[in-house]
């Protein structure tokens, strides 16, 4: 009966459950945590992009009063000193070779941060500088210096276990994929366009830099409080490193001050745990914002795309050759390359496709996961080229895209997950909201772009929901709250199923000793996968309530419903505390529900590989100061196909953040390397978007057809809004000025140069 009742909590703009603790400064992050006897750690980093580390002498540092331990790579004989999700190619501290400027070479744990920092000055390192490669061109040149020479150990993903770098080159991984006959299709196309686009290395700049606090207890068990997006992956890394069973490692995740992918997989946790082991004390390692630039970044890319179309605008073939710069260590780069490239054709129907991508090592900060996971680099190329195609064919860019969009239910590729949204609606709304068909001001240009992205697969989430004796609810799940609002959303889902106010639900922070397995908080998956697990766990509790009440009331369970914290039947009403008292014979005990989302047992109605497709469109209106080349995004509209917005307030905030972050790499951001030396590794010289860079009109809208595989028809969101930003802005600029930019960011100087090359009109 009431199982089909209108939604009460889901779909509401519920304020975030942790808002007050955050705005009052009471929310605790790793750096707020203190343990008795805790030591503080600092890292000595390589000043060279590439150097042989001949000797590290930590004796003077270790002898300094207040220093508890000083470690170099050579000291780590009592553990496996390598880690990494794709390849275990990254040493905790450099071993024999330092492969990028900023690579940790030694570390000190001391009674306070200052003592540790001063002890770093006493460490003598004998470096022999080696030739370095800091660009794709240098790394791929014949006879280029090699970043890695040996074969790395496999990481912890079964699907990546077969990967091997190409010996004798800097190619860390090559991914090739084809369907149909792309060469023949392009040969027979009426219009073939080809161009090469570049995407810069950029920094996530999470407000909270990386931090970890590790402590070994008297039984030899390890606890790490870590600012990580995936505690269960970190646990695997540490278990391998120290040869400790998973059950004896506990990862606790307090609040995160932003992640964006920078806190996926182990980062500082291995070093912190090693220092804690070496010192026999709890050790906290808190990196600075500048050190984030030396920890992980987005993989930069050079992407050559060829598209073939028929005269009527039908896409017939696409080839894409993409080289991603993954920096000095693989991190998750090979998967970024693989997954990003696989969807290089975007949300379009393309019968003939040939994709060839390489992950390339360079002597720069390792590239890893970053909001969009390889897709922004390719969407920048394809969506730019589609506008060129529209221009050449005399077609409207919106119409040309609409004509080629994959339809709802259509397979992305034969055998793969069918499309579970209606992108034509998103594109239509975006175009309409920007006033696409209306005449605009002469000094404004408009552009659109669309995106499609797969989520991580296979993908496992488990959840536990506990109904306590007083009728309050605890949700145990390991989705990490990093500002996106997952605690609120998970609480809403449980509150919806169990018919209680959100305020009666507590979402327990992730703790691998308490909250059950969740693969990762990334890939826009938490609401869909973890949320679905929570929904199932809450439904499990609901069924238990029904069983107890049905027996007690003598009515069939199917005649029961939940409302206002009670089981209701025509005959009467039992509040949850009463149901529990009946079940346990006393006012104690609790009902425990369990939810599992796993491949083969997902709720995905459409089946297939990715559990859902993330889809969005963006539309920009820009102006340009032709004398300086400065571009201003005057208006921006993002429309994401989210199935259902469980919390439209949080979703809007997340998508606004995505657009603004996208404006960063579109207009401002680029890590600039010169011979392996990062020239702008602080916020004085590296410019992230500020409040005054936000377009005066920024709208984030949603398409909701309840066609997602997540709870209540929801599906993933949060990355989609970022991806169309660069091509939408560049397309708008091209339509305004006739100038097509191929390299991001669109700095004033780049735009000015292009305008000058065009000449006056």
């Amino acid at each position: 009966m009431s199982r089909r009742a209108p939604l009460r909590v889901v779909g509401q703009p519920v304020p975030r459950v942790d808002a007050v603790e955050k705005v009052t400064g009471r929310a605790r992050y790793v750096t707020d945590l203190v343990l008795p006897g805790m030591a503080h750690a600092k890292i000595l980093r390589s000043p060279y992009a590439h150097a042989r580390v001949r000797r590290v002498d930590t004796a003077r540092a270790g002898a300094r009063p207040g220093v508890i331990a000083a470690l170099s790579g050579a000291d780590l004989t009592w553990c496996d000193p390598y880690f990494g999700p794709a390849f275990r190619d990254r040493p905790v501290l450099a071993i024999d070779v330092a492969r990028y400027e900023g690579e940790p070479v030694a570390a000190v744990a001391a009674v306070d941060e200052l003592t540790a920092a001063e002890a770093l000055d006493l460490i003598d390192v004998d470096y022999e500088p080696l030739p370095a490669v800091s660009t794709l061109e240098e790394a791929l040149a014949p006879g280029a210096p090699l970043v890695h020479t040996g074969e790395p150990l496999a990481g912890h993903f079964a699907d990546l276990a077969t990967l091997r770098p190409q010996p004798g080159t800097n190619v860390c991984h090559r991914f090739q994929w084809a369907r149909g006959e792309a060469a023949a299709a392009l040969a027979g196309a009426d219009l073939v366009l080809e161009d090469t686009f570049r995407f810069p290395p950029v920094q996530h700049y999470a407000m909270e830099p990386h931090a970890a606090l590790a402590a070994w207890d008297e039984t030899g068990a390890l606890t790490v409080w870590a600012g990580t997006q995936n505690p269960y992956s970190v646990r695997v890394e540490l278990a391998k490193m120290f040869g400790v069973p998973l059950g004896r490692i506990r990862i606790v995740v307090p609040h995160l001050g932003g992640g964006f992918g920078s806190k996926t997989y182990a980062k500082l946790e291995p070093l912190t745990a090693a220092l804690a082991r070496a010192t026999g004390r709890p050790v906290r390692l808190a990196a600075s914002a500048a050190e984030a630039f030396q920890t992980v970044r987005r993989c930069s890319a050079r992407v050559s795309v060829r598209v073939g179309l028929r005269r009527d605008g039908t896409l017939v073939g696409v080839t894409c050759d993409a080289d991603y710069d993954v920096g000095a260590y693989a991190d998750i780069g090979p998967r970024v390359v693989q997954k990003g490239t696989y969807t290089a054709t975007g949300p379009y129907r393309v019968p003939h496709v040939a994709l060839d991508a390489r992950a390339v090592y360079t002597n720069t900060t390792p590239g890893g996961a970053f909001r969009g996971f390889g897709v922004p680099q390719l969407a920048w190329a394809l969506e730019s080229l589609l506008d060129v195609a529209a221009d050449r064919l005399g077609r409207d860019p919106v119409d040309l895209r609409r004509q080629n969009l994959l339809a709802h239910g259509e397979e992305f590729a034969p055998g793969d997950t069918p499309i579970d949204g209606k992108l034509e609606e998103s594109l239509g709304h975006a175009a309409q909201a920007i006033g696409w068909t209306q005449t605009g001001a002469a000094d404004r240009g408009r552009g659109v772009a669309a995106m499609l992205k797969a989520s991580v697969a296979p993908s496992v989430s488990e959840a536990i929901v506990r109904l306590h004796a007083d009728g309050s609810v605890a949700v145990l799940a390991s989705a990490v709250e990093m500002g996106q609002g997952t605690r609120t959303v998970l609480a809403q889902i449980a509150a919806e199923v169990l018919a209680v106010p959100v305020a009666r639900v507590t979402a327990v922070p992730p703790d691998t000793a308490i909250t059950p397995y969740d693969q990762t908080t990334s890939s826009s998956r938490s609401t869909t996968m973890t949320g679905r697990a929570v929904q199932m766990a809450a439904e499990d509790v609901r069924e238990q309530l029904f069983r107890v009440a049905a027996e007690h009331l003598g009515v069939p369970a199917r005649e029961l419903a939940l409302a206002d914290g009670a089981v209701v039947a025509a005959a009467g009403r039992l509040a949850y505390p009463e149901v529990l008292a009946i079940r346990f014979g006393m006012s104690g005990g609790e009902l425990i529900g369990r939810g599992v989302v796993a491949p083969g047992r997902t709720a995905a109605p459409l089946g297939g590989s990715t559990p859902f497709w993330e889809m969005a469109a963006g539309a920009a209106e820009v102006s340009v100061d032709e004398e300086t080349g400065a571009v201003r995004v005057e208006r921006y509209v993002s429309v994401a196909d989210v199935g259902r917005a469980v919390n439209p307030l949080l979703l809007e905030g997340q998508d606004e953040g995505g657009v603004v972050q996208g404006l960063g790499h579109t207009l401002l951001e680029e890590m600039v390397y010169e011979e392996g030396h990062l020239l702008n590794g602080t916020l004085l010289a590296y410019r992230v978007p500020r409040a005054d860079d936000v377009p005066r009109a920024l709208e984030c809208r949603f398409v909701e057809n309840a066609d997602g595989s997540g709870p209540f028809g929801a599906k993933g969101a949060g990355e989609g809004s970022l991806i169309p930003v660069s091509p939408a802005v560049a397309n708008a600029l091209a339509r305004l000025t006739g100038v097509r930019l191929r390299d991001l960011p669109l700095t004033p100087e780049r735009v000015w140069r292009a305008l000058r090359a065009r000449g006056s009109r």
Partner: protein, 304 residues
């Protein structure tokens, strides 16, 4: 991270100079700390002694006489809000409102900004255009240097190690002076700053004529520099004709700039931007002289 240091808090300039003389290379004068502490946190500077000049008597005074004198310890915020500055040199108040960011303005000082001699300093460019001078005091006595004499190069001044910058002084130009400061850039520090000041004669708006012009170019040169060719070209030009001459003056200014490639842009781009923004600054100044507020309107641009 910030390493430990000894903080000295002299009450007089003499004490401060004596400390600086005694401590030598190990000491740095310290006021707002907005530049110094950044470099200390990055480990680029490690003075073991900081001589805090904020408590030195008279350092936070703004004296309004024949000349306007701004104490070295006066914050940008205080300059912005000073009734004397607003009345005697409104451009200075307006520039102060846009220095750095709000945190810098609340603690950063005029003297600290000038003594640090960052080539991207707004104030050095402004004061160069306003014919300002700085007063320095040391155990050897007091001396006064023009801005051009004081700023010698990037992060380099004529200040001796035991000398203290005590104030900036200038004789404000008449209220009818047309002036503007324009800066441009996407980074925390500007890519370019241009200050223009045009002394006019003739009270009738239609007849006003430039009798003396100052154009100072900041950020792109090793240190702020005047553009004498452009200034000369503007001399005698009627306000009504300024627009026609602005392009020519801007080209002269650009030709005089000593630009180099760096993170802020290529040399040729910055040279061209000098021309663009000298033109815009002249236009803004002329608009003000006609009683019209200049419209900024350009992205990444501040018109003060």
């Amino acid at each position: 991270m910030l390493r430990p240091f000894v903080l000295h808090r002299p009450r007089t300039a003499e004490e401060a100079c004596a400390l600086l003389a005694r401590l030598g290379e190990d000491a740095a004068p310290y006021a707002g700390g907005t530049e110094l502490l950044l470099l200390m946190k990055l480990g680029l500077l490690r003075p073991r002694h900081l001589v805090d000049v904020k408590r030195v008597a008279g350092f936070d005074d703004i004296a309004d006489g024949v000349r306007l004198s701004i104490g070295a310890g006066v914050t940008h915020r205080t300059v912005e809000r000073s009734a004397a500055v607003q009345a005697r040199c409104p451009l200075m108040a307006s520039v102060a409102r846009h220095v750095g960011n709000v945190r810098v303005r609340n603690v950063g000082t005029v003297g600290g900004n000038l003594a640090f001699a960052d080539p991207h300093s707004d104030l050095a460019t402004l004061f160069l255009a306003l014919d300002a001078s700085v007063e320095l005091v040391s155990p050897r006595g007091r001396r006064e240097l023009t801005l051009a004499e004081f700023v010698r190069g990037p992060w380099e001044t004529a200040r001796a190690a035991d000398e203290l910058l005590t104030s900036v002084r200038l004789t404000p130009w008449p209220a009818s002076t047309a002036a503007a400061f324009v800066k441009f850039g996407v980074h925390e520090r500007p890519t370019l700053g241009i200050a223009v000041a045009l002394r006019l004669d003739g009270s009738g708006t239609g007849r006003a004529r430039v009798v003396d012009a100052r154009i100072a170019i900041g950020c792109v040169n090793p240190c702020p520099a005047r553009a004498p060719g452009a200034e000369a070209r503007l001399s005698g030009v009627a306000l009504a004709e300024l627009e026609d001459v602005a392009g020519e003056a801007a080209a002269l200014a650009a030709a005089s700039a000593d630009t180099a490639d760096d993170l802020y842009g290529s040399a040729d781009y910055k040279r061209e931007m000098v021309a663009v923004f000298v033109r815009r600054a002249l236009r803004a100044a002329a608009a003000r002289a006609r009683g019209v507020a200049p419209v900024a309107g350009f992205p990444h641009t501040i018109v003060a």
